[in-house]
């Protein structure tokens, strides 16, 4: 057997998403071909997706080998840990009083925690530190303002690249704060808190 792991995983992704979609779509009325209900087109596109997923699965059994990079056990465990703890943190935050459960903060906290855990492992840092920095930006933007959010997100994301120096990062933060202020606040005048509000 020449298994093409990448194709098999892709097939799994397509089939899985299509199955979920078809299941969710059971809530919507199909209607008839003449008078299509809200469920008709989604049904069609998910069915096509499912069919293609199966085709990819079939061809993936023979057109390999195309293995994916081996994951170390640290990578796997940190990923599972991140998923579990991230979900837990999100759910906890939703129950907590005050800021943590306001608007989308539980989601942001969940993503942030979920992305920080795998970042312990070095090889995950580019992906998850950037994602975590993004989530951190979202969390901080409204309560403490744009400048602090930029600084925090840039400093966190800087750990994704080992060649960064503290001096360089400081310069970058200052530069980006000035640039973003000039572009987004002075020039475009977007509605966003700039400084912390007390």
């Amino acid at each position: 057997m020449k298994l093409n792991t990448k194709d098999l995983l892709s097939a799994g992704l397509l089939i899985g998403l299509a199955a979920i979609g078809l299941w969710l779509n059971m809530d919507h009325t199909m209607g008839s071909a003449r008078r299509m209900g809200p469920g008709y087109m989604p049904w069609l596109s998910f069915a096509v997706m499912l069919g293609l997923g199966i085709l990819v699965l079939g061809s993936g059994l023979f057109n390999g080998p195309d293995p994916i990079e081996k994951w170390t056990s640290a990578e796997i465990f940190s990923l599972i840990g991140g998923a579990v703890l991230g979900t837990a943190a999100g759910m906890l935050a939703a129950q907590a009083p005050g800021w943590a459960s306001a608007s989308w903060n539980p989601l942001g906290i969940g993503i942030f925690v979920g992305c920080m855990i795998p970042s312990i492992v070095k090889s995950w840092r580019p992906l998850f530190l950037i994602s975590a920095a993004f989530a951190l930006f979202g969390l901080m933007l409204e309560p403490v303002g744009l400048m602090a959010a930029i600084a925090a997100a840039v400093i966190l994301s800087a750990f994704a690249d080992e060649t960064h120096t503290p001096k360089g990062v400081t310069g970058l933060v200052v530069f980006l704060c000035v640039l973003c202020w000039a572009v987004f606040i002075y020039e475009l005048d977007i509605r966003v808190p700039v400084w912390p509000q007390f």
Binding site: K6, D7, L9, S10, L13, L14, L17, A18, G21, H28, S32, A33, R34, R35, M36, P38, G39, M41, S45, F46, M49, L52, G53, L55, V56, S103, W104, L107, G108, C115, P126, L127, I130, S131, A133, F134, A135, F137, G138, L141, L146, A149, I150, A153, V154, S157, A158, A160, D161, T163, H164, G168, L172, C180, V183, F184, L188, D189, I190, V192
Partner: protein, 501 residues
């Protein structure tokens, strides 16, 4: 002459101070990202979409278009000087261009790339201007069934021409269409797949998706790859071409312009495909084909003319039919819809300022690019000495602010994180993101046309085969699919794309 008076109107629009300014900004940004590897037009345009909201629609589109064709100019610079394609579309330019630079003819290669691009851009401008109203007339006779089939064809071709497995790409198209179904159903008002999240009732965030899948995922992939930028070696030398080089380049530029113009109009086509097509053609047709591989000027002139022509003619399906031919055009649709303009055949009449202004601005932009690129080449090369570690936080922050400012809602920021991780996963599994984006944009339109077509035909699916236009589209789609399933042709495409990228 209607054409001339219309173009005159277009220039009047394009030459207002504000539009010139934004055209210039677009061209400069386009050149910059063209020079820099690791950030492409799709990511940049999605990044800058939110910034353009404050501007009138015409100005916004003029600037975004400038980024796209500007990137084609900039991409050739690094390809020639450093053997480093700044864009996918300039991959083939490295083959001959870098050899020319090694032979001390870097200046000539840069000149021919810029002049060829300018010539091709001018021709393409006229083609867009002339064919736009013509095609619009044709498009107005399209029924819903024809539209559906046309979009179907566009999706199939975008998948067929994508890199890698065709089945997987079509799977991604289907995924995109399915994601496009999220939100309120237009006809019944029912919420679909929203999980009770009010933010999703308008659908999945288009900008979030584009930024996540192209911006964030791209940053991560670049960070994983160790940086390998060799510092500029050798001088640019004289920008003048010799008389012999000039004569050799002319036929190639003409052929490249032709190829690019045609392939740009094709759904799923665009700059990358046409520069590649032109290179293959030059290698077969050029009188100096034996020199290929040692720095033949034809191998620079043709593809560079082609990619610039294509980046402009790929606006034709968008402006006349409202159908995006590639991922960049899908973003343009997004930009237009956010501005409250429904792209389609009525745009020429309803938005003459936008239509003619954009066309005229293309020519103005090409002229600017010539100036921006040739005399100032040294400045652009210096841009490469900025290490990536300073660039990615900047890209990230711009993404974050941009996506937040769309609706002043942090939900969009989190959505972008989700698509970033998903985009990374997709690229690891070699699932193409571009077909998904096009599917996402076309999905809701297809649903609407499918519904209308079936209502008109009283539920008879044969309507798609009875209408000649629709039947032709479906036949072409079937042929394209069948061709890709044949082992010989598929191998040809794979090796072709492998050589290209």
């Amino acid at each position: 002459m209607d054409l001339i008076s219309n173009l005159g109107h277009g220039f009047a629009v394009a030459l207002t101070f504000n539009n010139i300014l934004f055209c210039l900004i677009g061209c400069i940004i386009g050149t910059a990202i063209g020079v820099l590897p690791g950030i492409g037009p799709v990511a940049t345009i999605s990044l800058l979409l939110p910034i353009t909201f404050g501007q009138p629609a015409t100005t916004a589109i003029i600037m975004l278009a400038g980024i796209y064709y500007g990137a084609q100019y900039g991409g050739s610079t690094t390809a020639i000087l450093l053997n480093l394609p700044g864009e996918v579309s300039s991959v083939v330019t490295t083959l001959e261009g870098y050899k020319m630079a090694r032979n001390g003819r870097a200046g000539a290669a840069l000149s021919v790339a810029a002049l060829g691009s300018f010539f091709a851009g001018s021709v393409a401008t006229i083609v867009v201007a002339a064919s736009g109203p013509l095609l619009t007339q044709v498009a107005l006779s399209f029924g819903p069934a024809d539209y559906f089939s046309l979009m179907f064809l566009g999706l199939v071709i975008s998948a067929v021409l994508a890199q890698g497995s065709v089945i997987k790409s079509i799977g991604m198209v289907a995924l995109g269409v399915s994601l496009g179904m999220v939100g309120t159903d237009v006809q019944t008002g029912q919420q679909r797949f929203t999980f009770g999240i009010p933010e999703l009732s308008d659908g999945v965030g288009f900008v979030s998706m584009a930024m996540g899948m192209f911006g964030i995922a791209e940053i991560v992939l670049n960070l994983e790859r160790p940086e390998s930028r060799n510092v500029m070696s050798g001088k640019v030398g004289s920008l003048m071409m010799t008389r012999a080089e000039f004569h050799r380049a002319i036929p190639s530029v003409l052929r490249g312009t032709l190829v690019g113009t045609m392939l740009g109009i094709l759904p799923g086509g665009g700059a990358a495909l046409s520069s590649f097509g032109s290179y293959m053609m030059e290698r077969k047709l050029s009188k100096y084909r034996h020199e290929f591989g040692t720095g033949a000027i034809e191998g620079v002139a043709g593809p560079e003319a082609a990619n610039n022509a294509a980046s402009q003619t790929s606006f034709i399906p968008l402006l006349t039919l409202g159908i995006p031919a590639n991922a960049v055009m899908a973003l343009m649709v997004g930009a237009l819809i956010i501005q409250g303009i429904q792209p389609g055949p009525r745009m020429v009449e309803a938005q003459p300022d936008l239509f003619w202004g954009l066309i005229a601005s293309m020519w103005v932009g090409n002229l600017m690019l010539l100036v921006i690129n040739l005399p100032m080449i040294g400045m652009w090369v210096k841009l490469l000495s900025v290490p990536y570690r300073y660039m990615y936080p900047a890209i990230m922050i711009f993404c974050a602010i941009g996506v937040y400012s769309l609706q002043n809602n942090v939900f969009d920021v989190y959505q972008t994180v989700f698509f970033g991780i998903f985009g990374y996963l997709c690229s690891k599994l070699r699932l193409e993101a571009a077909p998904m984006l096009i599917g996402f944009v076309l999905g809701p339109m297809m649903e609407e046309h499918l519904r209308r077509a079936m209502l008109l035909s009283r539920g008879d699916a044969m309507i798609f085969l009875q209408r000649p236009i629709s039947a032709t589209m479906l036949a072409i789609a079937a042929i394209a699919l069948a061709a890709m399933l044949m082992p010989n042709i598929r191998k040809g495409k794979d090796s072709a794309l492998a050589e290209g990228g």
